[in-house]
């Protein structure tokens, strides 16, 4: 009996023996996703206009399949006094990777959201002062008047709370770099509505606290958080002009396979095969690095240097 050689198509080999498939591809100088070892997939990000309760957002397109959408929502909380004296603020992300099922968040979703929360704060992306609610306006009939300075009689101070809802469609590999880019652009374009209270709150038998006139303004001595409203026609930017732009903080991912650094790992074969994965956040047009996280079998300094060089080429292209 003659035994015939059975050819195994590459997609099948990739599922059965991902390391072998990746190794064979790299011998030919190309990866299973047809990128070269130092190539990055194109990313485009569009800003979403505020609508309804959203104060901003962005949509990211990565390759031909992955789409990530974030919308930013706003809330208000009371200022924590000395507990809120950090120089930098952060956001509260809720992340969902669509996999055709509903249920509790997966470990990956929780880890990604937490990492984003931590790194936005550590990298001082948001100035904590910009999250302070400014002088409260007062709506009298159809106009809202804002005092120039905060009223000293107002004992309570408030802060904005930004919640980011992130939806991932068509996951094709590790996601943190994509989510970071998406979020930086969303935050850069985000505008915070000023806060006011309606004059009705001061009138008649519903009045709960002392109100007095000062100049042409009504002043409420202590404002309840429930009576505050957003003035969507009067907004101030979250990132003030002149301060560092979040979108200049670029995040890249890399993998190390048999001692070779692969940029922007993508696809099941690469994700399953690489020995180590690392993320790098750097400033654009600068040699300053903001974050590196490495996990894996064995990474050395030369891999990090190679990754930085690749990220530099990608950042300028």
């Amino acid at each position: 009996m003659e035994l015939k050689q059975t050819p195994i198509p590459l997609p099948v080999l990739g599922r059965v023996q991902p390391r072998l498939a990746l190794s064979r591809h790299l011998e030919l100088g190309v990866r299973p996703n047809l990128k070269t070892p130092t190539e990055f997939t194109n990313i485009s990000v569009d800003v979403l206009e505020p609508s309804g309760e959203s104060i901003g957002g962005s949509i990211l397109r990565y390759g031909s399949h992955t789409r990530i959408i974030t919308t930013l929502a706003l809330g208000i909380r009371e200022d924590g006094g000395h507990l809120d004296n950090d120089a930098s603020g952060t956001i509260y992300p809720i992340l969902e990777i669509s996999r055709g099922r509903v249920g509790a968040p997966t470990d990956e979703e929780m880890s990604l959201a937490q990492k984003l929360f931590e790194l936005i704060k550590i990298n001082k992306v948001i100035d904590s002062n910009n999250l302070r609610v400014g002088p409260l306006g007062t709506q009298i009939e159809s106009t809202i008047e804002y005092p120039e300075e905060e009223d000293e009689l107002q004992t309570k101070r408030y802060r904005y709370v930004i919640t980011a809802n992130i939806q991932v469609f068509g996951r094709s590999g590790p996601l943190f770099d994509l989510i970071w880019r998406l979020m930086m652009i969303a935050l850069e374009q985000c505008q915070l509505p000023r806060v006011y209270q309606e004059a009705n709150d001061f009138k008649g038998s519903q009045m709960r606290v002392a109100v007095r006139m000062r100049g042409r303004q009504l002043v409420k001595e202590d404002v309840g958080i429930e009576s505050l409203k957003f003035d969507m026609s009067n907004k101030i930017p979250l990132v003030t002009p002149g301060s560092p732009r979040p979108s200049l903080l670029l995040c890249f991912k890399f993998g190390v396979f048999e001692g070779q650094v692969l940029s922007d790992i993508e696809g099941e074969v690469e994700e399953l095969s690489v020995d180590s994965v690392f993320y790098l956040i750097r400033e654009e047009n600068s040699s300053v690095i903001r974050h590196i996280s490495v996990q894996g079998k064995a990474v050395d300094y030369s891999h990090l240097v190679a990754a930085l060089a690749m990220s530099g080429a990608a950042g300028t292209s």
Binding site: Q114, K121, V288, I289, R290, H291, I292, V294, Q295, V305
Partner: protein, 224 residues
């Protein structure tokens, strides 16, 4: 130099455990396993690793989930998985005193990794290599020397801080985990990694060896 206390085998009902105290922060880690895996955890060719991190107070949340993921990814590459197919090893890290802030987990990650090493050794789990973790903070002042095992205040005030874990095998060190945050350049990172390597080798020789030797003496005390 930081104050460091390591007590292995402190829990009677687990296969391995370690009480790890550094600069007043305290963590207790237990290892149970290899034990029979739950059906959904069972992996045909390797061990399934379950890592649970519990905070000082309250319930675990996404902060602990991220720590669990980092520790699990590290241990997966260290434990010789094929020796325990269809089995589970459970690692539970319980912080007792932790100088932590919501966004800074460097100290906790470092403590968890180091205590997990002693607990795994105590449990007799087969590992490819030893590993040692250290935290390095770079002070904001130009020319200041690096701070090893810094306090939380030093981390917050630092220019950058780094959790570096090296695997150690016959004096050969490889980075198996690196978490760097702050402002730094590649040249600086090289110096930090070199300094961390020396620190890790020192801890490996002076602390890890001593703890393992004294543990073995305790285990075989009936022989003498």
């Amino acid at each position: 130099m930081s104050s460091l206390e390591v007590h292995a085998g402190v829990l009677g009902n687990s296969d391995g455990s370690c009480l790890y105290v550094v600069n007043g922060n305290k963590v207790i880690t237990s290892v149970v396993g290899p034990i029979e895996a739950k059906a959904r955890q069972e992996l045909p060719q390797t061990v399934s690793l379950e890592v649970v991190v519990r905070p000082v107070t309250g319930l675990s949340n996404s902060r602990e989930k991220l720590l669990e993921e980092k520790i699990r990814n590290l241990l997966q590459n260290i434990i010789i998985g094929f020796k325990y197919p269809r089995q589970t090893i459970q690692v539970v890290v319980q912080f007792l005193i932790a100088d932590g802030r919501p966004e800074y987990t460097a100290l906790e990650l470092n403590m968890a990794i180091n205590s997990a090493f002693y607990a795994l050794v105590d449990a007799g789990v087969a590992m490819y290599k030893s590993f040692v973790s250290t935290v390095v903070a770079v002070p904001p002042e130009q020319g200041s020397s690096l701070i090893f095992d810094p306090s939380m205040e030093q981390i917050v005030a630092s220019k950058s801080h780094h959790v570096v874990t090296y695997s150690v095998e016959h004096d050969e060190c490889k980075i198996i985990l690196l978490e760097s945050n702050g402002l730094f350049e590649m040249k600086e990172l090289k110096n930090i990694l070199d300094a961390a390597k020396i620190q890790c080798l020192t801890v490996h020789e002076d602390v890890q060896r001593d703890v393992i030797e004294s543990k073995l003496q305790q285990d075989y005390i009936w022989k003498s």
